[in-house]
């Protein structure tokens, strides 16, 4: 009985996380491409370590914003701006 309860609770929490995380949309690359250059757009490159340094490609105009330093850049941008975080 305890095991069943644990599995149910675990499943509920896992499925509930997207709800708790708020309304975060995904953006396709073509949509981002069409927005590049617009004033209201902020592209943040959240890759860290080798994920960033080994990559040949960085989106033009993207600002490097490692997640570990969130406290330093988290409040730097206007709330009404379109902020795109990319990691791959």
């Amino acid at each position: 009985m305890k095991k069943i309860l644990f599995v149910v609770l675990f499943t509920f929490l896992v499925s509930g996380v997207p709800v708790l995380a708020g309304n975060v949309q995904l953006m396709e690359k073509d949509e981002l491409k069409s927005l590049l250059g617009s004033e209201n757009l902020v592209v943040l490159d959240v890759r860290t370590g080798r994920d960033w340094s080994s990559s040949e490609f960085k989106i033009e105009g993207a600002v490097r914003a490692p997640s570990a330093d969130f406290s330093s850049w988290g409040t730097s941008y206007a709330k009404d701006a379109t902020i795109v975080l990319y990691c791959a």
């Binding site: 890759r47 860290t48 370590g49 080798r50 994920d51 960033w52 340094s53 080994s54 990559s55 040949e56 490609f57 490692p66 570990a68």
Partner: protein, 412 residues
Amino acid sequence: MRIELFSISLMLAWMLSPESLVLLGNGIGDQGMAVFPMLVILVALSAGAALIVNHSHLPAQGFGGTLLIREQVGKVAALSLTLSSRLSVTLLASCAMLVTSGFAFNEIFVYWFPNFGFASLLLSCIVLVHIAGQKWARLAQASFMVILVASLVTLLLLGVIGGEGAREVGNQTTTISWTAGANGLLLFLGYDLVVSKERKNQAPMILTVLFFACSIFSLWANLSLKFVDPQRLADSTIPHLLVAREIAPPLGRYLMGIVIISGTCAAVNGFFFFTGRSLNHLAGEGMFPQFLGNLWQGRLLPVVFGIAVTGMMFTGLAGEEILEAYLRGSLLLWLLHVSVHSYAASRYLMRSGRIALAYGVLVSIVCLGVFLFLLFKDDNVVALIRFIVITLACSLAFSIVWLGYIKKLVTI
């Protein structure tokens, strides 16, 4: 002859690895024209160290000089230095380079193939080759090296023959950067990975390899300065790709992709082989647990390395900035090992009456000096010192416990 070719491939594996290409590219950017005389100084110093640690009058025992260090400096020092330097560079450099090659494959060749998937695939292939046996590991090493050298030489030729977009190198800036110069000493490490069953005069082979590597580096430096602005090279994390892209678009990118992937395979395979065999030999001497070193004819160790590297990749170490500090620390430990190895070799040679080779002590002091310089000059000095101290402490603790345990068994 086969052993010589294999030793050459082991020596070159680090020198032409993706990590070395980044070090080289950044150094070229920092120093400009000064990189050419600096390379000459560095290769001369490295040749001095190489000739001492591989001297034909040293006893032909052990891999990497651990037994020589044991004889001259002490068992505990020998084992702890070997474990800390060899294991750390094998595991950390392998993790870092495999991730780099994963990105290279994904971004240059097959965009839909996952980076980590490719890195894991490469690692699996290398471990399987080692499970198959020493013969296959040697064959794989030779194959990787042939592909690597062929691709790199082709790229260099394209750069020399081509020239569109090239600038005059003679008018470039010249900056003496001691840090960049000291970093350059790390480029030529690998000369202590010579494998030989019997001591004979390996000086011609070693000097040929060092001269070859220096020539490649000099030619690459020339092309880099011709095609890319030095500041971009100094600041980039992929300076070698920047140059390759300019040399012969788009072929240059593909060739550099092959260089990165084959270089990774050669380096990882080489490290697994050399470190594995070193520990096998130590197990035979009672300095390392026999069940690890000799089980399954020594094939267990590369599997253990593979599991450790997989663990590092899957726990996200590659995405942590601290990996660069750890990798740097492991390279400095390798340099420290060379320093102690040179000292041990020169003590042995001096006791045998070969006074002319006392310059080995000078080589040892220079290597130690560069080790300390690079350590304290690093931006991440605290993390670096912490890594080196903890690694040495752990290997020292293991050595004391294991060698004490063996001594007790022998006494009983």
